[in-house]
């Protein structure tokens, strides 16, 4: 029967092994989904590119509108912060870095004496800010690892409303940009007001200057195009954040699996050592017991048993019992 310490270690190894199985499964799931997320991000790119292209063509045609989305305030009084986090944890530092960055932006706004509105995407950001009693303007969650365009439209509508009707002079978007599987970085982007259409156009291919025909008019097209542009930018950010989340989770779970493996090896060694020690001790006990017995045989005086074949009372043995003295004058 194993000793107490050995049993404890055995139990701990079993528990770490279970944890390892879970983290390993999560790693594999994240790995397959990050590939899908990347594909989605790539598939969404043409739309964003085409929209930018159309804006470029409009700008080349000289269309400039006084759209509320382009309005720049001289004096910023209220800042909107949109933070894209995950719904679930176990993604390493993914949530904490993006939330910390957003919190810094909010603190900076506060320090400047500005009002702010906070929009949380993902349960983790909501939990963080709610716990710290920040006023939260809106929460969107339940889709962070697989955002759909409708999600982007809903958030964009809210953000646009904040900007146009509810006094926000600047909207910041805090999210994690996906650079590659190995690296993602948190970025703070000015989301609104938009750059003027000619600045947007400089990103696109503005080389194509041609006599475009517009229907109904260049300004009208641009006006209905800008909200779509906002949505597609937000959608791109959501997809980037989703890919980053999954990549972070994959990495976190990989290192968790590796750590679990290390622990298992460490505990197994410890357990074997303890077991060896226990066996050694047991052997020592048996040997020393036997040794003690052997030694005792060597010094017969010590044990009563040994005295049986020797004569404890050599003088009287074979003589008359001492308690009945024969030569007693009475007999």
């Amino acid at each position: 029967m194993p000793g107490a310490q050995e049993r404890v270690l055995r139990r701990r190894i079993a528990s770490v092994q279970n944890t390892k199985k879970i983290t390993r499964a999560m790693e594999l799931i994240a790995a397959t989904r990050v590939v899908k997320a990347q594909t989605r991000a790539n598939e969404a790119r043409p739309y964003a590119e085409r929209i930018t292209q159309v804006i470029a063509d409009l700008a080349a045609a000289g269309a400039e509108v006084d759209h509320p989305l382009l309005r720049k305030s001289e004096q910023v009084e209220k800042v909107g912060v949109v933070v894209l986090s995950a719904d679930r944890g176990l993604a390493g530092a993914y949530n904490s870095t993006v939330i910390k960055t957003a919190e810094r932006e909010v603190q900076a706004a506060r320090a400047d004496g500005l009002d702010y509105a906070l929009i949380c995407v993902g349960r983790k950001a909501e939990a963080h800010f709610r716990f710290r009693n920040y006023p939260i303007d809106a929460v969107y969650s339940g889709f962070t690892d697989k955002p759909s365009y409708e999600d982007a439209v809903a958030i964009a509508a809210r953000v646009t409303d904040l900007f146009i009707n509810r006094g926000c002079d600047r909207i910041l978007l805090v999210y994690t940009r996906f650079i590659s599987l190995g690296s993602q970085e948190v970025v703070v982007r000015r989301f609104l007001p938009l750059e003027s259409s000619s600045t947007i156009a400089s990103v696109g291919d503005a080389g194509a200057v041609a006599g475009f025909e517009f229907e109904p008019s260049a300004a009208a097209v641009l006006e209905s195009l800008l909200p779509r542009y906002v949505e597609s930018r937000l959608y791109a950010a959501l997809l980037d954040a989703a890919a980053s989340e999954l990549a972070s989770r994959q990495r976190a779970m990989k290192s968790a699996t590796d750590n679990a493996q290390d622990l298992i090896i460490k505990y197994t060694r410890k357990m074997n050592q303890v077991r060896q020690d226990a066996i050694t001790t047991e052997i020592m006990e048996i040997i020393s017991g036997a040794e003690a017995l052997a030694e005792d045989r060597g010094s017969p005086e010590d044990l009563l048993l040994d005295h049986l074949d020797t004569d404890p009372f050599p003088k009287r043995l074979g003589n008359k019992p001492s308690h009945v003295p024969r030569d007693n004058p009475i007999y």
Partner: protein, 136 residues
């Protein structure tokens, strides 16, 4: 020389290919594009877009608002790009679902004639069904 047609939704390129003619409805009426059309940008209403293919076939796409751009010709090819939030190919539309959605929207409208969302839903369902009809 055919038209190069691209139908782009925010999630992916829904369809791309070559065509003889593209017919769509803008705010002011139907427009048909043939190869060599001058550069054009217009807003689309919720209506099926018809793409007449080279082989005489026809691809009908339900489009819910969006834009159409005809780019300046490159190497003699005229490129038509349709950008839309929702762009569904007629053969991928679930007719039963569209019918159910239409009925739902109609009953919502009957209860409240000012229900904007129901009106939009009805319009979408109708376009889906119209696209399926046009393709059949």
């Amino acid at each position: 020389m055919p038209l190069l047609v691209e139908l782009v939704s925010p999630e992916r390129i829904a369809w791309e290919g070559e065509a003889r003619m593209v017919i769509c409805r803008t705010g002011t009426g139907d427009v048909a594009f043939l190869p060599g059309h001058i550069p054009f940008i217009g807003t689309l209403t919720t209506h099926p877009v018809r793409v007449l293919l080279e082989d005489g076939g026809e691809q009908v796409i339900a489009v819910h608002h969006g834009f159409v751009e005809v780019s300046p010709p490159e190497d003699g090819f005229t490129r038509v790009t349709v950008l839309s939030d929702v762009a569904e190919l007629a053969d991928t539309i679930d007719v039963d679902r569209a019918r159910a959605a239409k009925e739902r929207a109609e009953s919502a409208l009957a209860a409240d004639a000012d229900d904007v969302e129901a009106a939009a839903a009805l319009r979408r369902a109708e376009v889906r069904l119209a696209a399926v009809d046009a393709a059949a």
